[in-house]
Symmetry: C3
Subunit: 474 residues, 3 copies
């Protein structure tokens, strides 16, 4: 009935590129593929009857080792009736000849209908999305995000526990290096779950993730001392009506939250490849650990692959959900691909334009040649091969203080100095950057440190009284 | 008409997982694909018209280099109308992150309908089959077996010589390191062929293969001196009626067998990757060698790839069958896949439950933490990444002496000591292990050597009289 | 209506394996795929509706890194409805076991219907074509040729400029190491374009390419000094009626050609992998360079990947054609595959037997064991693994002087000595080789140098009078 409209070009780089409603649409479509199973025992024949992606091509561009994610995407595309082209080994790809990611995705946009990218650099998927003319799905970029893993995780939780709200989820291990965890905690916060972080020593959530949980997703950090005397702190989202009942008004009743049993323990691997010290102490989850009564009904989850952090002897325990979780990778990815390619006339992504309705932050773009750069050395913006293609772009975040958030890897810079490009002064006052919409903002430039400003020919601003503005030419 | 039944989960790890009748069914189905050729000259268009595997997915998990086996499986699946996902490079797979094979196959079981695995470790395919929930086909595991190559080999021989019985097959080269040879000689023995081993120096058939030929497949080792004075020894299966005519009762007429011309020379590559000394002397088969009248009608076969052991100048000789042999890889693998996936309603694998009806050996499972382990250092049971997933399991073989055969790699242990777990004694008498069915067997434990038993706190058993049994608790 | 005939086995190793008419047929078919687009904006959905290659299989055998060429071939095959098998990494292929290319392609001929090969050795694709029983397409072999890239390049030029005749094409960079350039200049010459070589220092066109442009494609090297005093030299094909008008009879009017604006600048990457000195100076094309009025309407082309030789800041310039050029890779390769597999009943390759009707050169085949060998050390004929499979074969070229052109890599040998195999003399007179058709020719043998002839037992020929012929045996 309706005229065929062009699909809007959408990318899924962050879990936050999808609204809650859109995530639920993904789940509905995934469930519909499961419902089509000829026989529930034939879990591996998921979706075998559909042919809706006939002749569409998925390109998997993997610049980092993977079996699971790549094969599950490929299986999903084939189950949809589509085809796959793959570049799985960086050493045999054009990158070995020195080609930029920006060029590669522009070229591959002509060969396929949707790209899945995995890359060792934080923010690489965002760069790919900037240059691709077809949808880009982030299959994991450095320590940044892994949104489709999170979709599988949420779907697993939702099928098991019916809803996500108020679930209490313990997260164990390398919370800093694990991209999976970063996507996961954003989503948990957005759906109102309680996050109980159990980081390995020194592997706490990165500062910018912590801040976003608090500032954007309105989590309160609730802490208390349990019987054994150890302090536990959890992220709780108190602004939803259903949750306010848990709290006595503004005052959070810590003990209620503390006493609540754990609904799921999410275990994650030590991301060895992202740490210099590869022999750190790391927690191991096993039947003994899970004997504690607070875990008596906890789903035990793991994005896999695992190494030693989750005891294989636990596999036969009914709480072990990780292989089920992996199995859902296929219907979830079938759903996401079919929605991105508009293959399901009955379903669409209602508000696929800008994802979660967080306050849209203004963007600050800086000259390539001088001024501040992302402080995260693993950010794609530091990749020499991409030097011509990445801009020094930052979201300007104003939440009491003013911060710069890298457009690509979303790491924050808290401390910087601000220069005036016409008047050539600089000042350590970041609040000068707090009004990106105002006319004078275009004259400002950020430097990482006073030395950089001085090296660029800027002079310290007079603090007592403002130096008289020097006239720009004309 | 008939109700759809669930396919029984069958694996093909060893050629002995298939009965003779089942092998013949594979050949019949392969032949039917050949018969469907639109034009016999178009050998490369084998089976192009079928679509019976539509939407089924074959996963190739290759942990060791291969082109031929992987591509022929993939071609077979595509010719059946199915799809393929592949992980061809261990360095870019989850194994690089330290994932176990056991986890990988459990996950991939959700992404595909049948797995082909190649692995450098002996017995890896058996481990994969233990954990997979879909059929596993062994595409070559260390020096253990390569059953689908053998199916191609037998099919080539059968099409050329009409039957396999009484064929005299000379086998040249690295009989120890070649998995292809191991699968092949079992099958030849089972179909009543005469095996004439022509091993390179020091590369004779492994002891356990030799013993199985004799004990399980009832081969007699027949030897005689030929005119030149060299001693030749062959494996002959004398227990079949048609073959008994060759022999004068129990007395084998050596000269008849010796005089028989060679029906096929099977040449195999030096398995350099499985030997420490990579510069050993190696026989080279060429036109000059094959000039001997006993090879005048011999098919010359090779599983390929070849290096220098088979002269390329021989390629144009009408006896050269190796490219034909490679070509049959596609219809044979089409047949095997279609039978394992129950895609041919007219054909099924009659007795696919337990393969060749050899005496079913009882299984001995030992604690992980102490006691004997497989003596083959390349066995998958010694792979550190699999430590949590492999059990120390052995078939107990009783043929005069008692031996332990590794469940995974099928290597035998002849010498071991037996301990009593309650009475804490040990004795060098392996015959104590000869009654696995009896009640006391569960109290026994095997050690590789007396030192190991002593280290575990066991004491030598009194030989004159049995020490009084110590009561166990309760 | 017409009886089905067997497709003739055709290979595309060199652009010169296709006649001009055939190239135009490829373009017509490619255009027909573009015309079938449901929506011109959906450039990435090229040909999605066709299914003419259903069940045909393309094998990509890549012995050298590539993303672009491999993925575009694979995408093309999938868009045609066909399937793909791929061996993309030499380290995980049978080559790692020491298998020859000759064996590999013979085996893969059974698994697929058409092969695309990429190889680091010059001439490897020709060797593959010698042994394959299915069509072989050269996806780039060493520094030899890359004919399908040239088809994309010509198609891009033709769509933009309507015709190829008289186009003035500047070619910048590594003209020696770039196989793409070699295929391209032959085609430009054949279609009557003017080639303006702008080589990086020391990276001029190889001598044999230069000579073929002059001798086979009748290019004149026209040079003049421009205003700035630098000498420019271009290849012009003056023998076509339409071009003669540009020239005053035999006398070429240099200034007319010199003043003509550049229609396209073709930029190519420094082929680092083919040079010992990896840090050479290399020209960089950017907006500043292209500001010169002679480039005001020039298409800027690049086969990609690029490194630094073409400024990314130029990407948004309307003259930048390189991404469009890459996009045409899919329809062009769809067209070529469908023609080679005879999938288009309405189109066929009229004269696909011997390509461009250049004078067919006689072939000289020499014993393997002694005599001259190709002087190009990177030629596939020097690959030890292929020693049994390559013949020392040379085209005998007579154009004033007598030269030997390697059958595989097409490099020329100008200086050699000629021996007489019965009379055992040798002489430095290459003209003795100028009559390959004559009866005595079979007695001649070429040596690279007098020393080689002497080492083989030959003696210098008496120059004053011919030494009396020694009788050969019998």
């Amino acid at each position: 009935m309706t005229a065929k409209t062009q699909p809007v070009l959408r990318h899924v780089v962050s879990i936050n590129d999808l609204t809650n409603k859109e995530i639920e649409t993904v789940f509905d479509v995934a469930q519909s593929f499961l419902d089509e199973l000829p026989d529930p025992r034939l879990s591996y024949r998921i979706g075998r009857s559909t042919d809706i992606a006939s002749k569409s091509i998925l390109a998997t561009l993997f610049y980092e080792p993977s079996t699971r994610t790549r094969l599950s995407f490929e299986s999903a595309m084939l189950r949809l009736g589509g085809d796959v082209i793959t570049s799985a080994d960086p050493a045999t790809s054009s990158a070995a000849k020195g080609e930029s990611l920006a060029d590669s995705v522009r070229v591959v946009s002509n060969y396929a209908d949707v790209i899945v990218i995995r890359h060792p650099r934080d923010g690489a998927a965002r760069l790919a999305a900037e240059y691709a003319s077809i949808p880009v799905i982030n299959g994991g970029d450095g320590a940044h995000e892994h949104p489709t893993q999170t979709l599988c995780d949420l779907f697993t939780l939702k099928r098991k526990h019916k809803q996500l709200k108020n679930l209490k989820i313990a997260i164990s291990g390398d919370l800093r290096g694990s991209r999976t965890i970063h996507s996961f905690v954003y989503a948990l916060a957005r759906f109102g779950a309680i996050i109980d972080p159990m980081a390995a020593p020194g592997m706490e959530l990165p500062a910018h993730v912590h801040r976003r949980l608090k500032e954007e997703y309105r989590c309160e950090l609730v802490s208390a001392t349990d019987e054994s005397g150890t302090v536990d702190a959890m992220y709780v989202t108190p602004d939803e009506p259903h949750q306010q009942s848990l709290f006595s008004g503004a005052e959070v009743d810590h003990s209620v939250i503390m006493r609540k049993k754990i609904d799921a323990v999410y275990v994650t691997r030590f991301q060895k490849e992202r740490w210099a010290d590869k022999d750190q102490e790391y927690p191991r989850i096993d039947a003994k650990f899970l004997k504690d009564s607070k875990y008596s009904h906890a789903s035990v989850m793991h994005p896999l692959p695992r190494v030693n952090e989750l005891d294989a002897a636990f596999d036969s325990d009914s709480r072990a959900m990780y292989f089920q979780q992996a199995a859902y990778g296929v219907p979830i990815r079938m759903a996401l691909i079919s929605l991105l390619l508009s293959l399901r006339p009955d379903r669409n992504l209602q508000k696929f334009e800008n994802g979660f309705d967080s306050p849209k932050q203004p963007l600050y773009s800086q000259p390539r040649t001088f001024g501040i750069r992302c402080a995260n050395k693993n950010c794609i913006s530091h990749e020499p091969m991409e030097a011509q293609y990445v801009a020094n772009k930052f979201y300007v975040i104003n939440n009491g203080t003013t911060r710069l958030r890298c457009f690509y890897c979303e790491n924050d810079i808290e401390h910087f100095v601000v220069g005036h490009r016409k008047q050539m002064w600089f000042a350590p006052d970041t609040s000068l950057f707090s009004r990106p919409g105002e006319p004078g903002f275009r004259d400002l430039v950020a430097f990482a440190a006073p030395e950089d400003a001085i090296a660029a020919g800027y002079h310290p601003k007079q603090t007592s009284k403002q130096s008289p503005p020097r006239r720009a030419s004309a």
